[in-house]
Amino acid sequence: MQPAPKIRFRDKQIEMAHGAGGKASRRLVEGLFLPLLGDASAGPLGDAAYVRMNGTRLAITTDSFVVKPLRFPGGSIGELAVNGTVNDLAVSGARAETLVVTYILEAGLPSDVLEQEVRAMAAAARRAGVVVAGGDTKVVEHGKADRMYITSCGIGRLIDGVGVSARSVRPGDRVLLSGPIGDHGITILLARGELDLEAEICSDTRSVLPLIEAMAAVAGPGIHWMRDPTRGGVATSLNELALDCGLAISLAEEKIPIRDSVRGACELLGLDPLHIANEGQFLAVVAPEFADAALATLHAAPGGEAAVIIGEVRAQPAGTVLVSTLYGGTRVIDMLVGDPLPRIC
């Protein structure tokens, strides 16, 4: 296993690409934030940080939501702010319990718009079984915040029997995907209304904690790694894994679930579904002896019917994600370089 190369951040200015979740984002985090703020011995970066308090292991995470428009088919920023954080903890093997949130509001924002989002957040929190325990509000001048930005920070206890780390991934492990990809990112793109495209597509935002808990109950020890493929999509998440574990991920193209309408929209716009953000899906890398049981459990759980094994881990070519077709052609899929889309979460 080879360690990931050390990257120093040399870009002259911040671009949209640095927030897109792909290579530029990674360059920023690894080249600037990590050397200055991070603990080099802590291992590969994940969706959450683990801390020990009084003997109890906890996971803590934070995420910010800058989506435009605020409301879209299938959800809104208030919901994303809850589900996104619950999901980050879930894929880190933790059950979210408490959230604290920050609202940055633009002066001139109609109060009923704010109320709508707070209600959406409250409903999402109830559904997810978390408590919003507090937060902060700031108001900035008109034009400085795209109506509203929300940050949410979540903390939770580890789920028994689950310990995920890129270091535990082994050749032969199976790659599971919880459901169809691309719904959220395409929804946002269409909701911006600039495109003259009509489609029945809505965001897939939801808490994936129940599915992960169900899977953990039967396959806990076999779950080696999980991630929620948000910005940058499945391609980026798996590339990060391949780099972090120094192995290869091989996917079977025909197994990757995509709704017809999402595929149609991607074709019309020239976008690759593997790079599009998802807000209600997760990837899990599971030891082969547990994979079938994990899949069966997901199929039996509400919302898990579409889960599928899309590939496996191999030793070579290290650090690479490959997709192969039924007829024997193979291509490498890369991490997103920059933004394929306007901000989506």
Partner: protein, 93 residues
């Protein structure tokens, strides 16, 4: 850059000359059909779409023909091998 995809014309917009709604896997988009003026597009036609314009109609007959020809590939060869297998002497037919 040469990305063009097939779509089915769903309707021609009455208020806009040369604009039609096209459908691709359930997704609808308005496109300009002005380049097809010599053989105007009508609902139900399949067209090739590139940067929001219909470039050409797609001929189902030609597509079917192509599939048929490709499906027959190797059949001559297979037939010849079979004949050779009869051991009748001499080369293939």
């Amino acid at each position: 850059m040469c990305l063009a995809i097939p779509g089915r014309i769903v309707e021609l917009l009455p208020d806009f000359e040369n604009i039609a709604t096209v459908e691709v896997s359930g997704v609808r988009r308005k496109i300009d059909v002005g380049l097809l003026e010599d053989d105007p597009a009508k609902p139900g036609d399949w067209v090739l779409i590139h940067v929001g314009f219909a470039m050409s109609k797609i001929s189902e007959a030609e597509a079917t023909d192509q599939m048929r020809i490709l499906a027959m590939l190797g059949e001559d060869e297979a037939a010849m091998k079979e004949i050779e297998g009869y051991g009748l002497g001499g080369g293939g037919a």
